[in-house]
Amino acid sequence: MSMINYASREINCKIVYYGPGLGGKTTNLEHVYGKVSPDTRGKLISLATETERTLFFDFLPVDLGTIRGFKTRFHLYTVPGQVYYNASRKLILKGVDGIVFVADSQIERMEANQEAMQNLYDNMSEYGYDLTRMPFVIQYNKRDLPNAAPIRDLQAALNPGWEVGDPSRMRNAPDPYHQGEQLVEQLTSGEWVERAPYFDAVAVNGDGVFDTLKAVSKLVLKSLA
């Protein structure tokens, strides 16, 4: 639920990092916190267990610049990825403007990724939000590990494309982040599908962290324009 405050001239938006436990959501926020200058970000709040697993959420506010005299403030949240924290995970989605799904690239985590994705769809639709029509990007994290699955397999499992129903959207849309690939395209079956933009990442080193954040923030602002 983005909020435009005409008194303080601020646009506030909420972005949620979602995904399986230990996928690297908290690591994304920690990297942003460490890299952004202290006058454009606030405190990093982490409600975590003593073993550093997210219990309720992490929170980091960042300013990403000014548009038409309004400061754009993004509130970044992570959810707890562990399956049994679903009640608190769902609460964090309330009022969300954009989603980053942080997948764990390790082959062993394929099923956990798929369960988390299904859980995201379910929780969103319980709020009446349509994930396929809102700012949504996918991050394939832990690309540094030797047991990382090929991107093609991850795309097929987690981002196969949803059907495009609106005829005005049935035309090729090139993926600005991957040359030669399409975000919207027609399959050989004749069906039009759309996929979420995706990014490779090694969040522990910061690789791909800002690309992901910039992409989702841009989609959020465009959804308001």
Binding site: M1, M3, G65, R68, H75, K94, L221, K222, A225
Partner: protein, 161 residues
């Protein structure tokens, strides 16, 4: 089905009316300060003594606290708890729901009492509920302030180059 969460905005006039109502409440109740936070955790207004803590972090935790308690209420068969009270040795806080959209948080110390704060809060909650209902109704229909981002696609692209 709506695409996602609706957007909302408030103008300087709204802000003026909110501030006036809260200032009167602080005067009458002798509380130290009042904060308004939306259900998504965004700080809407702060009135009274300037808080010494980080207000953005405070706003986020307030919304989380309130929504966790909402769920607890449902588990025990209540619709919601429309107010929450946290008592400290010196400082206490009282939280109240406004129109199911916004949370009013009042910080007070031993210069006043919970009874007085609660009593004076009733009228303020009513006033603010009316005000926010109007703001949200406007967000859903005509009369909303012009969208400042309309047609700003190029500027948005530039911001992220």
């Amino acid at each position: 089905m709506p695409v996602g969460a609706a957007s909302w905005s408030f103008t300087e006039d709204d802000f003026g009316a909110i501030t006036k109502s809260l200032e009167r409440f602080l005067f009458d109740s002798n509380a130290r300060c009042a904060l308004l936070v939306d259900r998504a955790g965004q700080l809407v207004a702060t009135v009274g003594e300037k808080p010494k803590f980080d207000p953005t972090a405070f706003a986020t935790l307030t919304a989380a606290d309130f929504s966790a308690n909402d769920q607890l209420a449902k588990l025990i068969g209540e619709n919601d708890f429309n107010s929450l009270f946290h008592q400290g040795e010196k400082e206490s806080m009282y939280l109240a729901d406004i129109a199911r959209r916004v949370i009013l948080v009042v910080l007070f110390d031993n210069r006043t009492t919970l009874g007085l704060v609660r009593l004076k809060m009733k009228q303020t909650v009513d006033e603010l509920s009316k005000l926010f209902e109007a703001v949200f109704k406007r967000a859903a229909g005509a009369g909303a302030p012009p969208n400042i981002l309309a047609g700003a696609d190029d500027e948005i692209d530039k911001l992220f180059q």
